[in-house]
Symmetry: C2
Subunit: 262 residues, 2 copies
């Protein structure tokens, strides 16, 4: 049996009780933190809090050589942990399908996600979000500025009045990412600076430390967001589409949006 | 202080540990179950498990006369519980903004959501979902079949290759909903039957009992989904757009999709 468990957004208490309980029943616990991470805790704290030993897998362990994980799940009960929800990346779906192919039963214990938080913390309605996108570091896509595909997604959503959640690049455990890079987790000001070069007056909302007791929510024009600081990672960026009356009120009240930005 | 806490998807253990802990610190606990509900538990079981007394609010309590909730949050610490994540409905954003206006501090403890589950359980990638929509009961929109706006959302997403999450109507605590109605929670077969009248060959995925230990996932043509049964509520329906290779594999392996449906 292989149980995929989402750790949720922030620290060792962001997991559901069902997830915590499921961890007590397994023989081995694997985890990966390269697609995302929990900013408010460490592997050691997770181990102490949940009374388990966690075997942290590299990208290569999961994507190229997942047999040890599958063997553990075939011989006994294993759990596979990810930040946020489980199955957030094709890598996890692939692992699940490999398990099913080997006749290993799989189960999912959901976790809270950045998409959930993007909507809840900003007051922007979840059913008014269009397709999400990811903004990569400039050197990661070998170009300057913002890839056209990211702008297209934002523009396409805005034309339909829809909000866009922009995930910001994460370069943890990436063999192609230089050790001396300034950033591993793209910040909200960096993202806003990139977008401001194309759309300086466009409204944006930076969300930082989602899932923590004191998250950051700042709504302003991209050019102004580019000069701000938003605390510890992880950050994300929301580009609102058409705003309903109550969504405007929410961005004013919860995100401090200046009138000229709305 | 008013803490909004998402109860997650299914039962008393679907809440995060952070949410459970926050409940221990408050003086009064309010909840509403008309926008959604936890299919795997009762209010009494929630009270026992979390050692709290829960005051269940009707739609009118929250939308027309929220003062008692706000008074409790002004005088002490109050929690407001919803199934899924908190802030899933404008009703909750409105309550939060009223609290902020009165100078009451607010905090959010996230819960897992149907959107999360729709992606995780089906293997369809979360960043390939477009705008979501809600399919209403026929008599709720005073017409036959599927409202044009629902079809437009699905078609618009499919043109872009995007998946659509279709929330199914919930008519709990609705004064305009007749007591003798057959259904309060629309089922997946009912939804598929409505959509099959317009698009019989369109691929759909019914997801039932999301967040439970044994969720239902069935992928097939709408006309075939319309003849199925999917167990206890709540149900939802996903209409896939373009399928990547691994998403096809997932629908075959996890949803039993017949080849002629893909």
């Amino acid at each position: 049996m292989l149980t995929f468990i989402g750790l949720g957004l922030y620290d060792e208490q962001s997991i559901t009780i069902a997830g915590h309980d499921a961890l007590q029943d397994v023989d081995r616990v694997f985890a990966e933190f390269y697609t995302s991470k929990l900013a408010g805790t460490t592997v050691e704290e997770l181990e102490d809090y949940h009374h388990v030993d966690i075997e942290v897998c590299s990208r290569a362990d999961v994507e190229q050589d997942p047999e040890p994980i599958l063997d553990a799940a075939a011989e006994g009960d294993a759990a596979f942990l990810t930040a946020g929800d489980t199955m957030i990346s094709t890598t996890h779906v692939d692992l699940r399908l490999r398990a099913e192919e080997r006749g290993i039963e799989t189960e999912i214990v959901h976790g809270t996600t950045a998409q959930t938080a993007a909507s809840s913390l900003t007051g922007l309605q979840n059913y008014r979000f269009g397709k999400a996108t990811t903004l990569p570091f400039e050197r990661a896509h070998g170009g300057d500025g913002v890839p056209q595909s990211v702008l297209d997604t934002i523009d396409d959503n805005r034309e339909r009045g829809l909000h866009t959640l922009v995930f910001l690049d994460i370069k943890a455990d990436d063999p192609h990412w230089p050790d001396d890079a300034d950033e591993i987790y793209m910040t909200g000001d960096h993202a806003a600076e990139l977008l401001a070069a194309e759309r300086p007056d466009m409204l944006g909302v930076v969300v930082g430390q989602a899932g923590s007791p004191s998250p950051t929510v700042v709504a302003d024009r991209m050019a102004d967001l580019a000069t701000g600081e938003y605390g510890d990672p992880l950050h994300m960026l929301v580009v609102p589409g058409e705003l309903h009356h109550m969504e405007q009120d929410a961005l004013r009240s919860l995100g401090g949006a200046p009138e000229n930005s709305l």
